[in-house]
Amino acid sequence: MSPEGLSKPEYQVPQEMQNQVALTTLDRLYNWSRKNSVWPMMFGLACCAIEMIAAAASRYDLARFGMEVMRPSPRQSDVMLVSGTVTKKMIPQIVRLYNQMPEPKYVIAMGACATSGGPFKEGYNVVAGVDKFIPVDVYIPGCPPTPQALLHGLMTLQKKIEGQSLKEVSWYQKGPGEPIPVPVLGPDLIDMRKAAVIREKSQPVADPEKAAVAVDEAAQNGELPAKEG
């Protein structure tokens, strides 16, 4: 166990007692232990999942970061690596898994697809970024990011954890956190938080110009008597 990152550099520890004694703050101790045991959820979506497996395997070895304990259950995991294209059919499950994860929880969007839809953004079944539904802590660009890029992303997450303070973190605030409403599969994906907007924008057009076009079309189809002139 190395006290690196644990001791607060302001406090001087005598030479002979280094590696045995660390002077630190509670925040630092808390974050130091958390950041060295971030357990990812065993959860692969697409191409990037293969690189995630490669990062966990012997060449890159996630265990060096205390992250080798991949848990298939959300209840025991700290970080969700969204590794691949998030589709509309899959997003209800992802939101549900995220809701089931205990605090503190983190999300890493690995690769272009998870970040914004990536090369498949224009696809009709693709969610344009997992952050439309769940909060993302770290984005890793690349298609797919190499295992080393993924490790860099995980280290970026560790830095973020280091910077958190017990006083401010959301999971020690009063009251339970609100779960994210699970999206519904309708004629297209329905984000229930936006239900009002969807209803409003799907109303039949009241715009007179567009209405006129609709009338013309109807007239052409013989549904209405044609306009004069």
Binding site: S58, R59, Y60, D61, R64, A109, A112, T115, S116, G117, G118, P119, F120, K121, E122, G129, D131, V136, D137, V138, Y139, I140, P141, G142, C143, P145, T146, Q148, A149, L151, H152, G153, M155, T156, K160
Partner: protein
Amino acid sequence: MKNFGKRFGVMSSLGVTMGHFFDTYIVDLVKGRKRYWTPEGIEARRQADTEGIFTIQYPEEQLPVPEEFRVLPFLVYDEGENGEKNLRCTACGICAKVCPPQCIWIYRATDPVTGKPSPHPAEFHIDMDICMNCGFCAEYCPFDAIKMDHDFELASYTRGESHLYGLDKLMKPVSYYESIRPVNASREAAARAEKARPKA
């Protein structure tokens, strides 16, 4: 050994894993300390005859990337004598045309005097969230102006505007390009010189 395997399959399996376990120590003892933390050591660990510990201790050690490695595109500029940055890009738009996910946006500059379009990009941006790192833009650029970068350490806390790379983030000097892709750069320079010669 073969017959032994047939009779005692599980024992034979355990033998293999034991072999792997002891290999890690034996190889370290034989090869010595230079196996780790040195470029030669990293190179040796990716050869066909490597045994024992296979791990590259990123971030302290880093697996070198080959010359053709591609992450995100960048725009090459030549450094002028007075420090001006002359982009090679002529805003011809081939990269935007060939880009499979269509993540390149180019806006051609107009000459302030004549008002005609001039061969420079006024604005150029690439949506790094869409880019699929295929390398087509670099492959088909006739002016060697857009190239693929090697830098993969790009993780960030935000996206959106910060992942929409504009000219300021995309421009990199030709010396950088020559440092990451020496072979390609010298080949292209030779080809350009060849092309320019008959006219001179």
